[in-house]
Symmetry: C2
């Protein structure tokens, strides 16, 4: 399957394309040219064509793309045509903010369970999401068929929690802690390190780089 070999940078751009196509479709637009697409998502057309080429023939050159077809293709590719339940572990400052965060581009991603150790919130419903004790993690992850966890626990707790998540059958972790966590190779870890993002920005600012600024 060709999909398996697409570069990470391409995969990261798919949600961008998809979101813009949904906006167009909602606006009743039928066709979109690669130039329009390029301007809207701020990715140059050569990159877009290369990205699309990983998925075979998605449109005819010179005729633009069929908005609905392309949107449905990406919905399927991104599994946005089925509900994905996600767990959030650690309802601290960042965790609480993420519980409130609208996963705006997607109707199909839903944080369905949160977990924490704090007795003040455990057993309660916070922003519509039940907060379970850590001891219920394995059970709830199984019952709710959750594959993906958002990790917002304190850094020093992170590896222990990851081990529990892996034992509970989690297959993907979005890691917001500064810790570099490890997991078996069939578990995907995606790190979102906010300090790194800021330091990288500061670095580019001071080095005067003309680096591409569009997110990879």
């Amino acid at each position: 399957m060709k999909e398996n070999q697409i570069p990470k940078a391409t995969a990261k751009r798919l949600p961008l394309y998809y979101r813009y196509l949904r906006i167009l479709n909602n606006a009743g637009k039928k066709k979109v040219s690669s130039t329009e697409l390029s301007e809207a998502v701020q990715v140059d057309s050569a990159t877009i064509r290369r990205d699309f080429s990983y998925f075979g023939e998605l449109g005819k050159r010179g005729y633009g793309y069929d908005v609905q077809d392309l949107m449905q293709f990406f919905a399927k590719t991104l599994n946005d045509d089925q509900m994905t339940n996600v767990a959030l572990i650690g309802v601290g400052n960042l965790g609480s903010a993420l519980l409130k965060y609208k996963f705006h581009q997607s109707n199909s991603i839903r944080v369905s369970a949160a977990f924490d150790v704090n007795p003040d919130i455990v057993g309660r419903i916070v922003d519509g999401i039940p907060v379970y004790p850590m001891t219920d993690m394995k059970e709830q992850i199984a019952i709710q068929q959750i594959d993906i966890a958002i990790l917002t626990v304190p850094a020093q707790r992170s590896q222990d929690v990851v081990n529990e998540l892996v034992a509970a059958g989690i297959k993907g972790i979005l890691n917001f802690t500064p810790a570099r966590i490890t997991a078996p190779s069939d578990v995907l870890i995606q790190n979102v390190d906010l300090t790194n993002e800021l330091q990288t920005l500061i670095y580019f600012l001071h080095s005067g780089s003309e680096e591409e600024t569009v997110a990879e």
Copy 2:
């Protein structure tokens, strides 16, 4: 200057190297081998060597790296040897969480001013950080010599705020809004889109990719 040509992926790994070197240095360690470094930051040694090669000769092969020298080199490269004041625009859920967020790896990054339109918080000090009205943005950014802004306003307000930030002299924007914002080419924009991160993770999970999982 060679620094100007380093790839973005390399730049994003520099804070990782730096943080680990600080930990080693605090622990009184003098030398570190490239194998140790590789295991700790979860980047393969070939990549580390290639990253380091952009900065010239940083150590002798077979002898490992001098921890303090290398740490100081990265401190300078990442401008962590001088204080960087940062502004945060939009003290909503995510903004509030980021005001509380400890930029753990760095003693030199500080959110020194926040801005919002909400009369309930404007004029108050939230988590040690003064919240100014939007109308004071230009003045405070000038007074505090702020180059970098964290953008956590509602998506529909984002481009207007970016235009104001650019007019106020901001040179780098860490964009947490889902909007694709535009700015003159001398202003760096780094996008952190949390829905994208989740969708990309879901995509990789379902495509069964054996893609590298370490953050770029």
